[in-house]
Each structure stands twice: as structure tokens, then as C-alpha cells.
């Protein structure tokens, strides 16, 4: 295990469009520029804020806050319903720009990505990465619009590059190297570090670590055996020193959707129709990843803040909307009253091409052909051109929303 700081040339660049959705809306609608705005999924007082503009953040508005609370902090704050195609377009523009500099680009979410310059051309490698970062900032303005801003961080690993990108929001460009590493840590709190939230902070506090510098100087054995109780402790020891431990891709483990019900007065049948709509959406996402599932998990949150859930694992994999809904519906028979939010996930995923699926009798083969035909029609003529009659009226409520944590469906 390396105990020194990584003093190699920093060749990892993290690019982050902070307040991305709000910035894109301000770009699209010039009269909103300089005003506090909030992106929400539904324009009601009770809705949670997905993204706030910098002007709103300056007044204390935070992501996740109820719009009602935000109005108290920022009177005149403007709510805008999220517009996924717009954000998807900006995501692809950003990705195109980043790919001009390296073949090794990883998008971490819809508004942030990493360029690895280790294996890029000599021409690009021969340039100062600070200049490349400035050029990317300018290209965002030229190719998307003048209001677009991004934070750029450069370092020797993904963790420090992301940390660098968070130092001077909303339009920063910072480099962290072995030389300024300690200086940077001395300005941060433990919870400023990506991956250290309240729970991990408490773990660190329990062994007398209260600052990033103390974390950096901590004994790796203490981190591994006492604080994190796993190899994660060693990884932190390396990560904090600028060595790469996060260059990994994760498989899709589950596919799901949730929905905050549009009214507290919905009947059980109306709720089931919305569940059915979610199942169709999950089925479509599942198949778009070439996956079939064996497990279904459903949950409901109630107005009394109860969390109810149920799950089922089948012997054979499935992937049709009908099967997902049928299993979810059966589980939902035990759901509580007074539901506020519902959700459905598929898990235990396997490739849809697994031989098992086609070894069984004709019915499964026919079902597969029918599903593929419907997916082909929907791809050609638009999402939900063909769907079950049961969900005919649900589209105005259960709209397509932007996936935050994953870029798989963009």
C-alpha cells in the first residue's frame, strides 16, 4: 500500500454543471436569468425542489426543500416544471465536447462527468490541462449558450478531481496536486468530502477524526479495522492521497420507478392504475438495458410516515410489462391505506438473451415476440404509443422524469 501522496501529473478532469437544470432553464429563457428559480416535478407548494438556481441558493434555498419553505426564504421564487428532453440535450452536448479530448469519458450523472487523459493523443496531452479546462468552459457557452457555466477540477484521481471542481462554484477551475493537497484539505469539513455524509462522519468522529487533515493522517489500519471495518478503509487511505481507487463500472442491479401520488383522495383502483403505469415504465427501461428480472419489490409510503414494502422472487426470469404488473399487483393487495408515494423495482437481473428464456414452451416465445413488436412500435412512433388500456388516462399524472443517479436511460 502506498503511503506517499501521488505526485504524478494530474490527468483526471472532473466537469460539473452545478445547478444544471436551473442553469439550462435560465439559458433557454433569458428573462429568468438572475432570478431565483426552482425546478420541481409538479407545481404545487408541497413539491420538493430538484434543483435551485444560484440566485435561489444564495437566499438559503436547498435541494430537497419543500417549495412552500423555499417561498418563505426567497419570496418571488419561480417554480418551473422539469423538462427532461432539454436536459438530455445539454447532457449529450457536454458529452460530445468531452469526447473531443479523450476516448475515456465517463458520465457520473446527468450533470457531471470525468475525462481521463492518460491514454489520449500526444497533441492533447502536450497541452496544459488548465487551458483545456478553460476551452471546455468556453465551448459550453459557444455551443449551448452564454449562460452556461461549469466547474472544472483537475487532479490525479477521480475523488480529488471532483473535490477540486467543488472549490469555487459556480464557475471554478482548480487543480489539486501533491503540493497543495494539505492546503486544500485544511479549508474543508469532513462532510465536504464526497462519500462522507453524517453516518461516516460519526464513524470517523468516534476515533477522534474531526477534519480532513486528521483523516488524511489517520493510520490505515485504524481506518480499515475500526472505522470502516472493511477494505473501504484502505481505499480511503489511498483515495485521500490521490491514488485511483474509483475507476470502476458497476452493473445494473435493479431498475425501478417511484411516484408521489397526485391526490390524497385516490381510490385503490386509481392507485393501481398508476402502479400499472410505473410497471410499464420499469418494463420498458428493463428491456432497453437488455435485461430480464426475477424479483419484484414494491413499496408505499403513507401520510403517517409509515414505510411498507413487499417483494417476490420468481424461479424464472421475466421482462414483460404484464408479468411485472401482475406480480406487483398481487404484492400490493397487502398495501396500507393512506398512501402518499408508491414505487416498484425489478431486481435479480440477468441478460434477456439467457437461453433459459427461449427454452420454454411456445407461450413464452410468443410473449417475447409480442413485447418486442410493441417496443419497436413505441420506439418508432413515440413512447407509449401502445400500452395497456388500463393506463389510458394515467399519462397526464405519471410523467417521464429525469433519472438523477444514472445515465443509462439518457
Amino acid at each position: 500500500m502506498r503511503t506517499d501522496y501521488n505526485s504524478e501529473r494530474p490527468l483526471i478532469m472532473h466537469i460539473d454543471l452545478n445547478s444544471c437544470f436551473a442553469t439550462v432553464e435560465q439559458q433557454a429563457r433569458p428573462l429568468l436569468r438572475g432570478k431565483p428559480i426552482a425546478i420541481v416535478n409538479r407545481r404545487t407548494d408541497n413539491t420538493a425542489i430538484i434543483t435551485a438556481s444560484y440566485e435561489a441558493k444564495a437566499l438559503g434555498v436547498k435541494v430537497g426543500m419543500k417549495f412552500r419553505e423555499a417561498k418563505l426564504l426567497a419570496p418571488g421564487i419561480i417554480p418551473l416544471e422539469s423538462d427532461p428532453p432539454k436536459y438530455r440535450f445539454v447532457y449529450h452536448k457536454l458529452l460530445d465536447i468531452m469526447r473531443d479530448y479523450s476516448a475515456h469519458v465517463t458520465m457520473k450523472s446527468i450533470d457531471e462527468g470525468v475525462i481521463d487523459f492518460h491514454d489520449t493523443s500526444e497533441v492533447i496531452k502536450g497541452r496544459e490541462l488548465i487551458d483545456v479546462g478553460q476551452e471546455i468552459k468556453q465551448r459550453l457557452k459557444d455551443e449551448i449558450g452564454i449562460w452556461m457555466r461549469c466547474n472544472v477540477g483537475i487532479s490525479t484521481n477521480r475523488f480529488l478531481a471532483k473535490t477540486a471542481a467543488s472549490l469555487h462554484k459556480p464557475d471554478g477551475l482548480d487543480v489539486i496536486t501533491a503540493h497543495n493537497l494539505r492546503d486544500v484539505y485544511s479549508t474543508l469539513k469532513l462532510t465536504d468530502l464526497t462519500g462522507i455524509a453524517r453516518h461516516n462522519e460519526q464513524r470517523l468522529n468516534s476515533v477522534g477524526i474531526y477534519t480532513p487533515l486528521e483523516f488524511l493522517d489517520a493510520d490505515p489500519v485504524t481506518l480499515e479495522k475500526i472505522v470502516f471495518k472493511s477494505i473501504v478503509g484502505q481505499q480511503w487511505h489511498q483515495r485521500l492521497r490521490g491514488w485511483e481507487v474509483d475507476d470502476r463500472e458497476f452493473d445494473v442491479k435493479r431498475v425501478g420507478r417511484q411516484y408521489v401520488l397526485d391526490s390524497p383522495r385516490l381510490s385503490y383502483d386509481q392507485i393501481l392504475k398508476r402502479l400499472h403505469h410505473l410497471c410499464e415504465s420499469v418494463g420498458s427501461r428493463l428491456r432497453s438495458q437488455g435485461k430480464a428480472a426475477r424479483g419484484v419489490y414494491v413499496y408505499a409510503k403513507t401520510y403517517e410516515r409509515q414505510y411498507w414494502h413487499a417483494s417476490f422472487v420468481a424461479q424464472l426470469p421475466f421482462y414483460t410489462d404484464q408479468t411485472i404488473y401482475e406480480l406487483a399487483r398481487q404484492l400490493f393487495e397487502r398495501a396500507p391505506d393512506q398512501m402518499r408515494e408508491i414505487g416498484v423495482h425489478c431486481y435479480e437481473l440477468a441478460s434477456i438473451d439467457d437461453a433459459q428464456l427461449s427454452l420454454f414452451h411456445d407461450q413464452i416465445v410468443r410473449e417475447r415476440h409480442r413485447t418486442e413488436a410493441i417496443d419497436a412500435i413505441n420506439q418508432r412512433f413515440g413512447d407509449r404509443t401502445v400500452h395497456s388500456a388500463d393506463t389510458l388516462g394515467t399519462g397526464i399524472y405519471v410523467k417521464q422524469k429525469i433519472p438523477f443517479g444514472s445515465t443509462r436511460y439518457l
Binding site: 429563457r29 432570478k35 428532453p85 455551443e143 413515440g382
Partner: protein, 89 residues
């Protein structure tokens, strides 16, 4: 306060098609009422798809209100689909 008015109004548009990063630029449009709107800035142009059909969405302003224009690249039609003309401070 955000006064968005969602519409589906067929409009007449004068647009320039050139080169560069933004090769299509609506310049002025006439609403069904006959009122003409001079576009002072195109905020963003992004494509959306209705199945395999591409509809280009132009978010524009005349300095007094924001508008959303949609150009159907298959049918070659323009629609005004949103107008937002008042933002209280």
C-alpha cells in the same frame, strides 16, 4: 410567480438557415391574431422526438416575454406552444 401559458398555436415564421453551430434561426413570427413578434434572442434550441419524427424546440424571447416555438422537421410546420410573459420580482 410564473405565468406560463401552454398553447398549440400554428404560427408563420421567418427563419434563416445558415451554417455554424446554430444553422437554423427563427427571426420573427406572426401569431394567429396577426400580431408580429421580433425575436431578440434564441435561448436554446433542442430536438425532441415524437417516435422517429424530430421536432426542434426553440426557446426564444422578444425581451418582454419568453416563447417556445416548435418546428416539426417532417411536416415543416411551426407551432407556438408556450408563452411566459410575466415574472414578478
Amino acid at each position: 410567480m410564473n405565468d406560463e401559458l401552454f398553447l398549440n398555436e400554428r404560427i408563420k415564421v421567418i427563419a434563416a438557415f445558415g451554417d455554424g453551430l446554430n444553422p437554423a434561426r427563427p427571426i420573427r413570427f406572426q401569431r394567429a391574431s396577426g400580431r408580429e413578434v421580433e425575436i431578440t434572442e434564441i435561448g436554446l434550441r433542442h430536438p425532441t422526438s415524437a417516435g422517429k419524427r424530430t421536432v426542434h424546440v426553440f426557446d426564444v424571447t422578444d425581451g418582454g416575454a419568453d416563447y417556445r416555438l416548435e418546428f416539426d422537421s417532417e411536416r415543416l410546420t411551426w407551432h407556438l406552444t408556450m408563452e411566459a410573459d410575466h415574472y414578478a420580482n
